[in-house]
Amino acid sequence: MPRALPYLLLLPASLFLLVFFFYPFGLVVVESLTRGGEWTTDNFTRMTGHWKFAPAFWNTIWLTAIVVPVQLIMALTMASVVQKLKTGRSGLLYIFAIPLGISDLAAGLIWLAIFEQSGFLNSILHSFGVIDRPTLYLGYQNMWVIFLAVCLAEIWRATAIMMVIIVAGMGLIPKEYSEAAEVFGASRWQRFTRVTLPLLRPSLQTALILRILMAFEVFAVVMALGGTSLPVLMGETFQWQFQLQDRGVAAAYAMVILGLSVAFSLVVLRLLHVPKGARI
């Protein structure tokens, strides 16, 4: 019984995923590897041969590389701040968690309202007399401004996801550990890096993996702020699936997103490996 127990516990989730994920997933994989009924890598060569593939690939990678570390630091900061607070904790946590409830489409809408030419940012600058006519931020020549705006919007939208996971994890770390370290003269920073962070590894792992998965699927916010000028992998997937109606190439794009996500998740799993003996 004990040996079978883990498998029994995994059974419902596995069966469920088998039916509702693996079956349709298998069909899409087949689609990515066939063209007109024949097995081929043609879809992948078409994909990589298209001139937008390279920019879409690198934009996605760069966005992830910039956004996720910033979010990790912000989420850790928010979680620590909340933990240090004596009053108003739950109110502050609620405020920090608000962006959780906002879909990526709505987030794109909000940030476009800020950055567009007649938007809030220009209105504020205008009312302070900094500018006398609205400046244009999201023009296609200012690629780095668009990129920055997308980064800000993504950081705003999705930091709460990591924060909630980390807060829940921090709550499980016994205060005694930190107090003991304090007795031995560890500074606040040392206590954070030597005690809290190592004990937080399972939560960090989870938060990072989930966030990275979502980062590679970034789409709605980029479309809202960048329009056509900032291609990303997910946007190209949509483009091929619906506008160009070439499901094979769209499936190939999806495989690239999948490959990237799994590869980066495995890296996180290795880096933040939780050895059994090292648990609390």
Binding site: L15, W51, E116, F242, L244, Q245
Partner: protein, 419 residues
């Protein structure tokens, strides 16, 4: 085995939860998706249909996925499909022949388009629109000397945009080059035919090169945020753009909200004429529809003159049949109607037809024009090299689809050639 058991359990459970008992015809539409239009379609257009109808609009992605799924499953709940000409081309093989529907009032040209290059009536025209220009009245003082607003040329337009740019210090021309913008139709049906008299054959000619260079010049005076614009009515109202080009339905709000501030006028003309292109939406019945008679009855209802006028009020798409307009049409209809009349009635009018016979390559055909735009205008690649390169892609698509030429290109035996 277990999977099957689980599934059958789920079905039993779902029977408990599901509440649908549909006797109504499901009208699955990729048009009239904006929420106000949906409301108007249900309350003002379809409420008069006796047979019962459920109007459900969807974005292009879900719209296509749903109908593909129903066709794949071999059964479904969709009775009538409503969509643009281009949306139907990949579905042509799975649409019921509608020659039994009385559509004699619809112009034969449109009915021919509805055959999608086959012998069957694949869809019945539903409503039409086109692209026009619109401007804020403040922009009119910068019109170049001697230019006639109702008969502009591309050179006039460029000079106008340059004047506004010089005078106000900001590029004031706006163009819907965003992700949902309809820019490909501008290149296919307006810019290229106006310079070359052709959409496909002369794609890489010297005249086409001239057209793109003219567009590059116009782009100098175009608001660079245009790559974010999809509905020019928003930029007209906010003042980010003063002179714009877009679909009549996507300009309507500006005229309806501030009728005195905006004017509509025809698309400009080039050396080969004043080219323009219709937008045609149609209605079709998928093979999987359960009650085809009810579906055809609904299509018949949609073609009645009163329904067509109600549809115009709801969606800003014009009737496909001849109707007498009442006097109380909204300002958007009056403004656009006058511009369209001036455009199609112009001496140098050069109507371009929607692509036919491309099958599921329609999207890739459009992409050739979009890619050409992005490479020449946004990436600043040399015009000649891009045209040569994209002409190869265009030729490959037309040969693969085996599509003969359509207007304004001269008819061809076999696939339309790209010189």
């Amino acid at each position: 085995m277990k999977t099957r058991l689980k599934l059958s359990l789920l079905i039993t459970a779902s029977a408990l939860i599901s509440t649908n008992a549909i006797a109504e015809t499901l009208f699955w539409s990729s048009q009239a998706t904006p929420i106000e239009e949906t409301q108007a379609m249900r309350e003002q257009v379809l409420s008069g249909f006796g047979g019962g109808v459920s109007f459900q609009p969807a974005d292009p992605g879900p719209w296509l996925t749903r109908i593909q799924a129903e066709l794949g499953a071999g059964s479904g709940s969709i009775g009538v499909l409503g969509a643009l000409h281009g949306d139907f081309t990949p579905l042509a093989g799975n649409l019921t022949d509608l020659s039994g529907v009385d559509a004699s009032a619809v112009s034969p040209g449109f009915m021919e388009l509805g055959k999608l290059g086959t012998d069957d009536q694949k869809y019945i025209p539903w409503m039409q629109a086109t692209y026009v220009m619109a401007a804020h009245t403040d922009a009119l003082e910068y019109l170049p000397d001697g230019a006639d607003l109702m008969a502009l040329s591309y050179d006039d337009l460029i000079a106008w945009a340059a004047n506004m740019h010089d005078a106000t210090g900001q590029p004031r021309f706006g163009f819907p080059a965003g992700p949902q913008g309809l820019k490909h139709r501008f290149f296919q049906g307006y810019l290229l035919p106006a310079y070359t008299g052709s959409m496909v054959t002369e794609f890489r000619s010297d005249d086409a090169e001239q057209a793109w260079n003219a567009f590059l010049e116009l782009w100098e005076h175009t608001n660079p945020a245009s790559t974010n614009y999809s509905f020019m009515q928003e930029q007209l109202i906010s003042g980010d753009a003063w002179v714009v080009f877009d679909h009549t339905a996507r300009l309507a709000d500006a005229f309806n909200q501030q009728p005195d501030d905006f004017v509509a006028f025809p698309a400009p003309s080039g050396p080969a004429g004043r080219a323009f292109m219709p937008v045609l939406a149609g209605m079709a019945v998928p093979e999987t529809a359960s009650d085809k008679d009810a579906a055809m009855e609904l299509i018949g209802y949609m073609l009645a003159p009163e329904t067509q006028i109600a549809t115009l009020r709801a969606t800003n798409f014009f009737p496909v049949i001849d109707v007498d307009f009442p006097d109380d049409m909204p300002p958007s209809v009056q403004a656009a109607g006058a511009a369209i009349a001036a455009m199609s009635g112009a001496e140098d009018a050069l109507p371009a037809l929607l692509p036919v016979g491309l099958g599921d390559l329609g999207g890739q055909f459009n992409q050739v024009y979009n890619d050409t735009f992005e490479r020449i205008v946004l990436a600043r690649q040399p015009v000649r090299a891009v045209l040569d390169d994209q002409a190869d892609a265009l030729r490959r698509i037309l040969e693969e689809a085996g599509a003969p030429c359509w207007a304004p290109d001269a008819a061809s035996d076999g696939p339309c050639p790209v010189n």
